[in-house]
């Protein structure tokens, strides 16, 4: 299934882009998705504990099972204001 994945802040710089589309197996979780990117870009792995994820623009736990067409974003600590 196709999933749209967004990266922001320093994560975007590590990945080298803000947006990717990936083909995931059915039943994959947000954690599976992150691990897949961390496998390709090992520098990403060290940020695992200081990243939160969103699914369809709501903060979501790592165990969230993804559905076709979901939009997932990986968000570093926010610093607006």
């Amino acid at each position: 299934m196709q999933t749209r994945v967004l990266f922001f802040g320093k994560l975007k710089e590590i990945i080298g882009g803000a947006e990717q589309s990936v083909d995931l197996r059915s039943g994959a979780t947000i954690a599976d998705l992150f691990d897949r990117f961390a496998h390709e870009a090992p520098a990403l792995a060290s940020f695992r504990s200081s990243v939160v994820a969103s699914r369809n623009q709501e903060f979501a736990p790592w165990t969230t099972v993804l559905e076709p067409g979901d939009e997932v974003a990986f968000l570093p600590p926010v610093s607006g204001g």
Partner: protein
């Protein structure tokens, strides 16, 4: 730009924030107070001289989280109107990065609600700031937003 059921205004803008317009938006005949917060770009950070800042956002989600903040203020405080604007892109020293205006019949609720709005924005709205110094740039330290616990619906039994 987005209007909520309470006629609140939440905005992400790339040009200078029109603070007067936000104040006019919330200021109605039944109000006795308008409290505002003007967050501006400081010329130093952790002892280093800041040259300028760049802000980026997950714009659709940021607007939704800003709408949620505005809605929550109406349930938590006896207020009338809310306007919240955050600027994106490059900001120079002294420019306004975020402006919040809250109106209420009596001042106490507006003070408390305005404080709550900026504190919550800084913790939950997906916006990031990069600080540029003479010798490099860093993403500012931030806060990790709270994430809801996993629910049975999010993790079906197999």
């Amino acid at each position: 730009m987005s209007l909520s059921p309470h006629d609140d205004l939440v905005l992400l803008v790339r040009d200078p924030i029109a603070a007067d317009a936000l104040i006019r938006h919330v200021r109605q005949a039944e109000d006795g107070a308008v409290v505002t917060f003007d967050g501006c770009v400081r010329n130093h950070s952790h002892g280093r001289r800041t040259l300028y800042l760049e802000y980026e956002a997950y714009e659709s989600m940021a607007l939704e989280k800003m709408r949620e903040i505005a809605a929550s203020l109406h349930t938590l405080f006896a207020i009338d109107g809310v306007a919240i604007a955050h600027r994106l892109g490059r900001l120079e020293i002294g420019e306004t990065s975020v402006f919040i205006a809250v109106s209420s019949p009596h001042r106490k609720a507006a003070f408390e609600a305005c404080r709550h709005a900026i504190d919550t924005l800084k913790k939950t709205v997906p916006i990031w700031k990069k600080e540029y110094f003479e010798d490099g740039a860093v993403w500012a330290d931030g806060e990790l937003p709270p994430v809801p616990a996993a629910t049975p619906a999010a993790k079906p039994a197999s």
